[in-house]
Amino acid sequence: MDLTNSDRELTAEVEELSGENIFSCYQCGKCSAGCPFTDEMDLLPNQVLRKVQMGDESVLDSNTPWTCASCLSCEVDCPKGNNVPAIMEAIREISLRKNLDRVDLNELKTKELPEIALVSNLRKKTG
């Protein structure tokens, strides 16, 4: 496999933001087996981790990190003790820190939502 410098950049950035060692994942798939939202995802959680290991920037276009609800079921199941939700958050943050908000506040004006939903959503999906 030929990794370019920019490939390594993505891997390093995710590791820095998450504080996790991405190469500790050995692809057992337990995170994906227990994830309650894989039906909604275009990549399984373990596939996201594999792409980050390979420095594949297409992972930034995946809907998986945005579907992740930080429910932590993968974290309690991971045999390597990896904090998979923190890796998902790191991928979200890479976009959010470029001002690419996932949620448009104007579109929420007409929705009736409790504060706990709004605050948590905006903390995860806007920069």
Partner: protein, 295 residues
């Protein structure tokens, strides 16, 4: 009377008013005074998982500092999201010296915080301090033939280091239901996420999950579902009402806070503000309990 310092969080003052009112009432019955922290701010609702942005940790930590400054070495929560966020921020302060120093240096108007406050959930008070016999003694309207699905959700039990019970096989709600005279039902989705904050920008995903969870509870024979989380409550209660518009054959199951179930068994169903619920739980509760019989 035992006095404990209490952090309500935003929802309990607004959309989850019935959660707070019922908790205050049952606490009084249990001879516990919930003393509200005199100045508090939003906990942030979700714990920040990025390693470098400490700004997002200041909200919860400021609440812990306020508790310490008011002379409390313990702080009690009811909302499971507040509980999780406050406990994890506290554990960050205790476990990571360099981050603690940075945060303390930044918050230079406050006295340094080293993690001295112990955060507990109200369920820990019931289970570990008062004990289930104390709860059982206050029951005047036993939940006799009521089948209750304990919905733990995510934040009460995960991550392991923070959770108040086993993340795979939690029992605290089951024990509570039994001590109120009801029957906890075995329910396959008791720790499965409801979709959480995705309810804002992906309603369909949460609608599907609300259907799976509530239909699963119904299939297990549940008359009612209990929760400790205002966001789970919104997603299972309000989204079930939305679901009924597109799937009229869905058989709804009411969702209530665990303290509301306690208030029913303690003989004070009127404190529960059930008018706020999208799926009215009164019929299910009154049919199967002696809740109608006031003290």
């Amino acid at each position: 009377m035992r006095e404990i310092t209490y952090y309500p969080g935003c929802s309990l003052k607004d959309t989850a008013k019935g959660f707070e009112d019922s908790a205050l009432k049952v606490s009084k019955e249990l001879d516990v005074n919930l003393k509200e922290l005199s100045r508090w701010n939003c906990c942030g609702t979700v714990y920040s998982l990025t390693d470098d942005n400490l700004m997002k940790q200041l909200g919860p930590i400021r609440n812990l500092i306020r508790a310490r400054d008011e002379g409390s070495d313990e702080l009690y929560t009811l909302c499971s999201m507040c509980d999780n966020t406050l406990k994890r921020a506290n554990s960050l302060i205790r476990g990571e010296e360099d981050k603690r120093d940075k945060i303390n240096n930044f918050m230079d108007q406050e006295r340094d915080y080293e993690g001295s406050v112990e955060v507990h959930h109200y369920l820990e008070l019931l289970r570990d301090i008062l004990g289930w016999d104390e709860v059982r003694d206050r029951v005047v309207a036993p939940l006799e033939s009521l089948n209750v699905a304990p919905y733990y959700g995510c934040m009460l039990t995960r991550p392991k280091e923070i959770g108040l019970d086993d993340p795979h096989e939690p029992t605290v709600f089951d024990e509570l239901v039994e001590s109120l005279g009801g029957t906890p039902v075995d329910f396959p989705y008791e720790t499965e996420c409801c979709g959480s904050y995705n309810t804002v920008d992906n309603e369909e995903m949460v609608l599907n999950k609300a259907q799976t969870i509530t239909a699963g509870a119904k299939k297990s024979g549940a008359d009612v579902i209990i929760t400790a989380c205002p966001l789970c409550h919104f997603n299972l209660d309000r989204r079930q009402a939305d679901l009924l518009e597109v799937a009229p054959n869905h058989k709804p199951v009411p969702v209530i806070y665990f303290t509301q179930l306690m208030a029913v068994a303690f003989g004070y169903p009127e404190v529960n503000n059930f008018d706020e619920h999208a799926i009215d739980p009164r019929e299910a509760l009154e049919l199967k309990t002696k809740a109608g019989s006031k003290r």
